[in-house]
């Protein structure tokens, strides 16, 4: 079975509140006086976006800050449900959006390993097989049974990275915010990322590092204000993106 991503007419809408979240009082007040000015504004982070990604593609997404890149990634990971349009994903998504998402500070490293692993879709048996490798990769043999709130930032990031990347990814969704801890670890982490990207059937990544995208991707999509501006080979799109920016 080949994996694919098919996004049809996707729109994602947020509410921007001018002051704060609506209170019950205002809810009632609005019921009684429907004509009062609304406290919020609707804002489309993604507007009518159609996109097809086939197996084997390595897609990079570029665009200015606030263009909707991360929202699109989160929609692909099903964190944001489509407001309009549809999203068909064939294959298992491995989201690497933020290191340490879903860690619980009071839990020990090992407990977090099992919690996080379960969230990423692994069975207990899989995890007990992977456990040793993850701990070794994170270099945390001594501290694995300590609650993660006592971890240094580096230890925390290493464990989270090791858990998230010990996968056989089918569809790999990557945010550039996802990075691997302290300097000595970075080399190891980068190698592992490249391996992961090679193993994945589909890779979608957001980054501002254009050279990296040019090196890793087979296709680049340029997004502005929630819509696709250009889509094509990395060299071409990146140079027109740079030309437009300067």
């Amino acid at each position: 079975m080949s994996s694919f991503i098919f996004v049809q007419g996707l729109a994602i809408q947020f509410r921007i509140y001018h002051n704060r979240a609506p209170s019950l009082k205002e809810g009632f007040a609005n019921l009684l006086k429907p004509n009062t000015a609304r406290q919020y504004e609707n804002f489309y982070a993604i507007k009518n976006l159609t996109l097809k990604i086939a197996s084997g593609e390595r897609v990079g997404i570029i665009g200015a800050n606030g263009a909707g890149k991360s929202t699109l990634l989160k929609a692909l990971c099903r964190i944001y449900e489509p407001f309009k349009g549809s999203l068909i994903i064939n294959g298992r998504v491995s989201p690497l959006l933020e290191v340490g998402a879903g860690f619980h500070a009071e839990f020990t490293g090992r407990e977090n390993l099992y919690l996080n692993g379960a969230i990423l879709g692994y069975s207990k048996e899989d995890l007990s097989k992977m456990e040793e490798e993850i701990i070794a990769f994170a270099e945390l043999e001594q501290f694995i049974d300590t609650p993660v709130k006592y971890y240094s930032t580096g230890m925390y990031l290493r464990l989270a990275f090791a858990i998230a990347t010990t996968v056989n990814p089918d569809i790999l969704i990557l945010d550039e915010m996802f990075s691997g801890g302290d300097a000595s670890f970075v080399k190891k982490a980068t190698d592992r990322m490249h391996q992961l990207i090679n193993k994945a059937n589909i890779m979608v990544m957001v980054s501002h590092q254009l050279e990296l995208l040019e090196q890793l991707c087979t296709r680049v999509i340029w997004i502005e204000e929630g819509a696709i501006v250009a889509d094509g080979s990395p060299g071409k799109i990146i140079s027109s993106y740079l030309a437009a920016k300067s």
């Binding site: 809408q13 947020f14 509410r15 979240a21 609506p22 209170s23 019950l24 009082k25 809810g27 990971c77 099903r78 964190i79 944001y80 449900e81 989201p95 959006l97 933020e98 998402a101 879903g102 619980h104 009071e106 839990f107 407990e111 099992y114 919690l115 379960a118 969230i119 879709g121 692994y122 069975s123 207990k124």
Partner: protein, 260 residues
């Protein structure tokens, strides 16, 4: 088809459910001396205080009042903690919900199953006390698991509505705790319906929690099975509550992420 997918997806996330329940049960008392025993000690202490105060106040026979009170309170406490805990459940797990996809129903499920497990364990402690006071066992005690199941479904349905509503109106979290207190006084837990005025009694009869209290009180206080009418009423309430809860949840679950 949609329902089948929903159930299949839920099944594939059973490990997450298990982990979240474990997290809830293990963490609360980590690094305390008595540890998990607090789950048992805590309700026992509060119940005992109530028993001492009110048996003195109402000049009732202490022993029979303790059994009357404890059997009602265990039902109320279970109901109340499920509803109150669910009111904040999506806010509690906000950071997780915003970062990774997990079927939303997992959170209220984990929270309420955790609370149910607590309730079942404290039942054992409470029942020990009841047994020491009145060492008479009838077969009707076997009805208790059924009573817990029906009560759980009823509470879960209401809790589901509250959990979704709280995401949209944060004030509800505070309103709920006050409402639950008012509701508690409308429920014949500490007093007997026969002792109150006629107007109050008719209001208490309308209270949907009242028959659930009966469900626990009949086997424990009267040593008999609940009346079949009471059981039927409870089942209907539970079904209605669950249906409404599921309806509200399915309608709004995809919007939760946008309002957190």
């Amino acid at each position: 088809m949609k329902q089948i997918n929903f159930i299949l997806e839920l099944y594939s996330y059973r490990n997450v459910l298990r982990q979240l329940i474990k997290q809830q049960l293990v963490l609360r008392y980590r690094r305390t001396v008595f540890g998990y025993l607090w789950t048992l000690i805590n309700p026992l202490l509060t119940m005992s205080i109530t028993a001492i105060v009110f048996s003195a106040l109402f000049k009732m026979d202490f022993r029979s009042y303790v059994i009357y009170l404890f059997s009602g309170l265990m039902a109320w406490n279970c109901f109340c903690s499920i509803v109150t805990q669910l009111s904040g459940v999506f806010i509690t797990y906000e950071s997780l919900i915003k970062k990774i996809f997990i079927p939303k129903i997992i959170f209220p499920l984990a929270q309420s199953i955790g609370t149910l497990i607590d309730s079942l364990l404290s039942f054992i402690a409470i029942y020990t006390i009841i047994y020491l006071i009145n060492p008479e066992i009838s077969w009707s005690i076997l009805f208790i698991p059924v009573a817990y199941l029906v009560l759980f479904i009823f509470a879960f349905g209401i809790g589901l509505i509250v959990s979704v509503a709280t995401v949209f109106y944060r004030d509800l979290q505070h309103v709920i705790s006050i409402l639950m207190q008012a509701w508690f006084f409308l429920t014949p837990v500490m007093y007997k319906v026969s002792g109150v005025s006629l107007e109050a009694a008719s209001l208490i009869k309308l209270n949907p929690v009242t028959p659930f209290i009966e469900l626990f009180r009949a086997p424990l206080f009267l040593n008999q099975m609940p009346q079949s009418g009471t059981i039927a009423t409870c089942c209907i309430y539970a079904a209605v509550s669950m249906a409404l809860g599921a309806l509200v949840f399915m309608r709004y679950k995809n919007l939760i992420i946008y309002r957190l």
